[in-house]
Subunit: 247 residues, 2 copies
DNA sequence: CTGCATATTTTTGTATACGATCCTGGTCTT
DNA sequence: AAGACCAGGATCGTATACAAAAATATGCAG
């Protein structure tokens, strides 16, 4: 297979690292570390991220840390309040709905395009990702499973070869991880891994409409697993309660 | 009209200012000034934006300018190359296609939702925006017309009340302005203002399917006005030629 | 004990200094 | 004359110092 490599799908594009690197390599590292910690739920929504503290962890000055935090904030993963600093974003129920509405529209379309373009190598890569996800789940490594599950969606978007959609999907997937940690009703559920398998089959077969349908159903399932009833902004941690400011 | 105001649509949300402010008020100002200049084509794609120079113009230090430039780069309006600095983005033909594909999917859906939610005040606001756009065109103020035309799409997204879609549309509209300046075939064309008028009618009537269809057609028209034939990355300025690095 | 004013501490906002990198142009060699 | 090499300048990368703001703690009056 000597054809010219399609850039996006050559390596499994992780949600964590697939973004355009920041100008500074060190800021990029911090960006990725923080993002990884947020996506796999080591850092809970609402956790404060003081510049000094983060800088101390990574041995970097505040200049660098600020750059990383600002990048995260542009993606909605971190909120920065002027003169107050950064904290892990704490999506509201309304935001959660809006994010999954967006996924519901964009991802089926992306899956359809991916079905038309997926090469054998692409399919193999997806299978491997799903296998890893499966393995992580069975070994009880839920953190890793969450990241891999997101990577799967991200990889499909990369295969579709539409850079704008790919960027949107990536942002939506990352923010979804935050939503899961707040509103997931049944954490033990198997992350709908079988759905991923069925999707791969449709992609491998080049069946665009099937892929689109399966993706739509899969995302609907994800939403089903959420408890998005309005509540009084239920704070997730004690630290959160103490730093509540409105109402 | 004492009802609780719906946040998004109270004032005409300009593409330039509707974004979450940056942590620093001064950085926000610079961000907006640069964005406005880029959107209305005073700053051409490829124009370099040295930190010192920008800072001198606004009397701010590089720290502030960097924050503004990074924000712009996260939205794809500015490219930052490590150790080389920032320049106004220069979308490729492929990116242009991808951006309009995204608009083609998202905006009709957003228009449909807006049709279901638009209040009388919303419609009045849209009408006023279109009137201003019309006036700007007739007075030959093409820069202002471009901005207002973008604002129109942005306002519809705001009315729809889906914050994620609104953010996406905003980014797409802004980047579209860049695309117009590079690939517009017939600059004299009237920006399809009549299409905007028809859309308002559908929104006012609460006709979601009609709004969706009209929006889809309108965007197709916009794409029609572009010359997206592959060319050898036609550089727009001499400065650009001199700094070509690949191939 | 409660409420308020004030002092202290913590954290962010901004400017600036200095080092690193890249681009430019000139010079020397072949 | 063409190419490689080596200054010099421009521009960015990063740390740090200091100012400003917010949060917190303190102390006093009622």
């Amino acid at each position: 297979m000597p054809g010219p490599a399609r850039a996006a799908a050559d390596a499994a594009p992780s949600v964590i690292s697939s973004r355009t690197p920041l100008r500074s390599a060190r800021a990029t590292t911090i960006y990725r570390e923080l993002l990884a910690a947020i996506v796999d739920h080591r850092l809970a929504p609402g956790t404060r991220l003081p510049e000094d503290e983060v800088g101390a962890v990574y041995g970097a000055s505040r200049t660098i840390v600020r750059s990383a935090l600002e990048a995260l904030s542009h993606e909605g993963v971190v909120n920065i309040e002027p003169n107050r600093g950064a904290m892990v974003a704490h999506p509201t129920v309304a935001e959660a709905r809006s994010i999954f509405e967006a996924r519901q529209l964009i991802e089926p379309r992306v899956a359809a395009t991916a079905a038309l373009r997926a090469s054998a190598a692409d399919v193999a890569m997806l299978r491997q990702q799903v296998d890893e996800e499966h393995a992580a789940l069975h070994s009880g490594d839920h953190r890793r499973a969450i990241v891999l599950s997101g990577d799967f969606h991200n990889s499909i978007a990369a295969i579709a070869g539409q850079p704008i959609f790919a960027g949107f999907v990536r942002e939506l997937v990352v923010r979804s991880a935050l939503i899961l940690s707040l509103y997931w009703r049944r954490r033990e559920a198997t992350c709908a891994t079988p759905a991923h398998g069925a999707l791969i089959a449709a992609l491998a077969a080049g069946n665009a409409t099937e892929a689109s349908t399966l993706m739509a159903e899969h995302i609907a399932d994800l939403v089903d697993g959420l408890d998005l009833t309005e509540r009084s902004a239920a704070p997730v941690s004690l630290a959160d309660i103490l730093s509540l400011r409105e109402k």
